[in-house]
């Protein structure tokens, strides 16, 4: 494109420094917000008011912020469940199924303790809580491992198997908690029994302790991928399976490993929501909504480019927007689905602007000197 004597040109990037990736992501958020203003205008709401409501509730409100954080932890864990297979070049679309399995694993442990129908049962929290977490991770990992095994051993496409396992998970959890199911709540309908008071998760500054687990996990994963042999093997397999095989990395083991790990973390997300969230402490009736929410792990993982540390702010943003969007929708009396629409627009802009991960725009001045244009260097 020519502007006077100057020329704008698209050039393929050689590499992408992390701060550029960050700037591009921030720009795509801004573009999404601008585009989304149209929705507000269409509904007769001043966009500035609308966004003020969303962000104020999500990040500044005393009631809203804890909700945002809880939701973000959930999304973050789902993101990690996506990232680990993603680094091995594999797509985990099965967070929902692994999540349901994880929920059943955690509550299965309590069921074995005889917690069903006895909220006052005493189980030492130092034993009960870790066992629930292990149960959740075990069940999630087992479901994930099926997809990984089929991929590694028989080269069955993991996207297909994880999707199918989602469906199995969905109906299995329905069977377990709905009318007549073994985990059915004796009082309520279509949800599981309540956790005994003794094993309800401790809070740290008003947030479930799983926040610490999540933050440690981010650091641990980052370190594993940056510094360890196992991380190196996973990355090698992801970047070039043939070269990985050539250098002695077992191509049957890596898919199993990453899917078991991913499934375990999805199980942990289930524990966080159903076992540690204040006010829940059961497999709540709206579990399928959280199954759907787990899919945001995919988009967050892609935006974070598989980097577990970058996934923290991204999950926080998405957690906040779903939360604030739902609030603003009620307060401003808008139609259903403001939160989903906002996230949808954001996903599109983020994916579209990822174009600049691979290309950059440069100014060409008349004297043929090439100078990069500010941000999208």
């Amino acid at each position: 494109m020519k502007i006077g004597e100057h020329e704008l040109k698209l050039i393929k990037r050689v590499d992408l420094p992390w701060w550029n990736a960050m700037i591009i992501s921030i720009i795509s958020v801004i573009v999404a917000l601008i585009l989304f203003s149209l929705v507000f205008v269409h509904s007769g709401v001043n966009p500035l008011t609308g966004f003020k409501e969303i962000f104020q509730f999500a990040f500044l409100n005393r009631n809203g912020l804890p909700l945002t954080i809880n939701r973000s932890i959930f999304i973050f864990l789902c993101t990690c469940a996506f990232i680990i297979p993603y680094r091995a070049g594999l797509w985990n679309i099965g967070m929902a199924g692994q999540l349901y399995a994880g929920a059943l694993g955690a509550f299965g442990v309590m069921y074995l303790f005889g917690a069903k129908g006895d909220p006052n049962l005493y189980i030492a929290p130092g034993i009960g809580i870790p066992l629930m977490m292990i149960g959740a991770m075990f069940a999630g990992g087992a479901i994930g491992g099926i997809a990984g095994f089929l991929r590694g051993r028989f080269n069955v496409n993991e996207i297909v198997t994880t999707m199918m396992l989602n469906s199995i998970g969905f109906w299995f959890i329905s069977y377990m908690v709905k009318e007549g199911g073994p985990f059915m709540n004796p009082v309520g309908r279509s949800e599981s029994f309540d956790l005994p008071l003794s094993v309800r998760a401790p809070l740290v500054f008003g947030t479930p302790f799983t926040i610490i687990v999540a933050l440690l996990l981010a650091i641990l994963l980052y370190w594993v991928f940056a510094k360890t042999r196992i991380g190196y093997k996973i990355k090698s397999y992801g970047l070039n399976p043939l070269a990985a095989k050539y250098s002695g990395i077992n191509p049957q083991v890596i898919p199993v490993l990453v899917f078991v790990l991913g499934g375990m973390i999805a199980g942990l997300a289930a524990y966080h929501y159903f076992g540690a969230m204040p006010g829940v402490f059961k497999i709540a009736r709206n579990y399928a909504e959280f199954g759907d929410l787990s899919f945001y792990g995919i988009i967050c993982g892609l935006i974070a480019q598989g980097n577990p540390l970058a996934a923290i702010p991204v999950s926080l943003l998405f957690g906040g927007l779903t939360n604030g969007g739902r609030f603003a929708q009620g307060k401003l009396q808008m139609g259903f689905g403001v939160d989903y629409a906002l996230l949808g627009v954001m996903m599109i802009t983020m994916v579209v602007l990822q174009f600049f991960y691979r290309y950059k725009i440069v100014w060409i001045k008349p004297e043929k000197e090439i100078s990069d244009v500010g941000i999208i260097r």
Partner: protein, 515 residues
């Protein structure tokens, strides 16, 4: 030599002052040359000399930063390959760009402007077979492309370009995947194309004899600039090599005599299947001793790749045994073989030998990630790996700004040096090298071959798989021509003759002299 007659002929394609810069380097700087009708004008250069960039500019894949292209005296500005094709530029890439599952004729029609309208197979077939006849290509137009040999596939691409109306034919490393008889046929075809007024521009890194044989003019590139222009009649192999590399190059290697040691690799009746479940390797047996180079000469696709893969543990043996230093390793995993001293330099440098998005350090780690010394208790010691990489870069003259550069930034020759450095630094007992010098320039070939001879002196056993008879003969102690998964013979180098080996590579039975 340009005769009176030729100089009068029209210049078809001319480049004036072509300059193309890439971040941090200048791939082409002020390149000028002109190609006339009915002329073969070879472009010669080492890897990284700027050949590929120039080729891509001529074909419209890149636009030059400076300079102009003229086609038949008219200034042209190729925005994409389509513009170039429409003007009459045909390109045959080194990597085949054909639809494997389609027939030859379908591939030729694909992308032709008339094929979208009415598919008149009959007419196209007639026209194409006339073209084939005119230029001496023997092709079954109804055969599926996957059934063809590499040479035949290349012919399909040439015919495709000609059928599209190419006036200038650019060939990228045209002889690199061909057997000697196929090369002969190609050269004959090029001659007849030239006679009918086409201009042919082969881009070549080595194979200087071929350059001398077929071209009228040679333009030599080095570091992105034209360093020499020859009328071929006045050039010799030595003078070409010198202007390519910038120094004298030893073209013939001296034989290195090493005392034969213990047997290292004993292969007994080994067979293997390929991806299509055909028996690609059927019952080969041989032994390699310490300090020996065992050369397998063959046109690619005759089972040598499968042999290398089976020995490296990347493919299962269908039958037979492999002994390394007397221990059976037939069922060992790839990793166990690396640990026991098998080193493998694969032919596919980019696809298998390296991970292009990894830095050089991480690429070196491909052979070291399982060593406690560099990865104590599972945690990678990047500091010591960096030191190792730096020392390998220095020892093997890998041209790179530093060890943190991604492997995809390296040229083919430097990548090969890096792989070789990484593998040889482990002092393997058995070194398998598949096409170690394919696509490399003269300087890098010399370097790689010397490193192999050095390893031989260090008492390694070396299995050299080569598509080039000269290389197999000049380096090996034993030469085994391979054809359709079987060794035609195993000959000591003293008895190996070029023509005889070449004939066996093409499937001829060994000559039995006395009986």
């Amino acid at each position: 030599m340009p005769t009176e007659n030729q100089t009068k002929e029209k210049t078809v394609l001319e480049a004036r002052g072509i300059t193309k810069r890439f971040p941090g380097c200048c791939a082409n700087e002020q390149i000028n040359f002109a190609i006339k009708q009915g002329e073969v004008h070879a472009i010669l250069g080492e890897n990284g000399a700027g050949k590929t960039t120039l080729m891509n500019i001529l074909f419209g894949l890149y636009q030059p930063d400076e300079g102009e292209l003229f086609f038949n005296g008219e200034k042209v500005d190729f925005k994409s390959p389509l513009d170039a094709i429409e003007k009459g530029i045909g390109m045959v890439h080194q990597k085949r760009k054909l639809v494997q599952a389609h027939s030859v004729i379908e591939n030729i029609m694909l992308g032709h402007p008339n094929s979208g309208k009415i598919l008149n197979f009959k007419r196209v077939k007639k026209e194409v077979s006339e073209l084939c006849e005119q230029y001496g290509f023997k092709l079954d137009l109804d055969a599926k492309v996957w059934q063809l040999s590499e040479g035949q596939k290349q012919s399909v691409e040439i015919i495709k370009a000609l059928y599209r109306g190419a006036k200038v034919l650019i060939l990228d490393e045209p002889t690199s995947a061909l057997s000697p008889p196929e090369t002969r046929n190609l050269l004959d075809s090029i001659m007849s194309m030239v006679e009918s007024g086409l201009a042919v521009v082969p881009f070549i890194t080595h194979k200087l004899p071929i350059v001398l044989e077929i071209s009228h003019h040679v333009t030599v590139l080095r570091n992105g600039r034209v360093t020499a222009k020859f009328a071929t009649a006045g050039a010799t192999e030595k003078s070409l090599a010198k202007s390519m590399v910038g120094r004298e190059v030893i073209i013939k290697l001296d034989k290195v005599e090493v005392e034969r040691g213990k047997p290292v690799l004993e292969v007994n009746n080994l067979s293997a299947y390929n991806e299509k479940d055909h028996l690609a390797l059927s019952g080969v047996s041989f032994t390699i001793h310490e300090g020996e180079i065992f050369g397998i000469a063959g046109v690619s696709g005759n089972g040598q790749e499968e042999l290398a893969d089976v020995l490296a543990g990347l493919r299962k043996a269908a039958s037979g045994t492999i002994l390394l230093d007397g221990n059976d390793i037939t069922h060992d995993s790839t990793l166990e073989r690396w640990r026991k001293g098998v080193g493998y330099v694969p032919a596919e440098r980019n696809e298998v030998g390296t991970i292009c998005d990894y830095s050089l350090i991480e690429n070196v780690a491909m052979n070291y990630y399982f060593e406690e010394e560099y990865v104590p208790r599972g945690i990678i010691n990047y500091k010591s790996l960096r030191q190792l990489t730096e020392s390998l870069i220095a020892e093997y003259n890998v041209a790179t700004p530093g060890p943190d550069v991604k492997a995809k930034a390296l040229s083919g020759g430097n990548l090969q040096k890096l792989i070789l450095a990484r593998v040889l630094s482990k002092k393997p007992r058995l070194i398998i090298v598949n096409l170690p010098t394919q696509g490399l320039d003269v300087g890098a070939i010399e370097f790689v071959q010397n490193k192999l001879l050095q390893a031989k002196k260090d008492k390694a056993a070396i299995l050299l798989i080569s598509g080039e008879i000269e290389e197999a003969l000049s380096l090996s102690d034993w030469v085994a021509p391979i054809y359709e998964g079987k060794f035609m013979d195993i000959i000591p180098w003293t008895d190996a003759e070029r023509d005889n080996v070449g004939a066996m590579m093409a499937g001829m039975k060994p000559k039995v002299e006395s009986l």
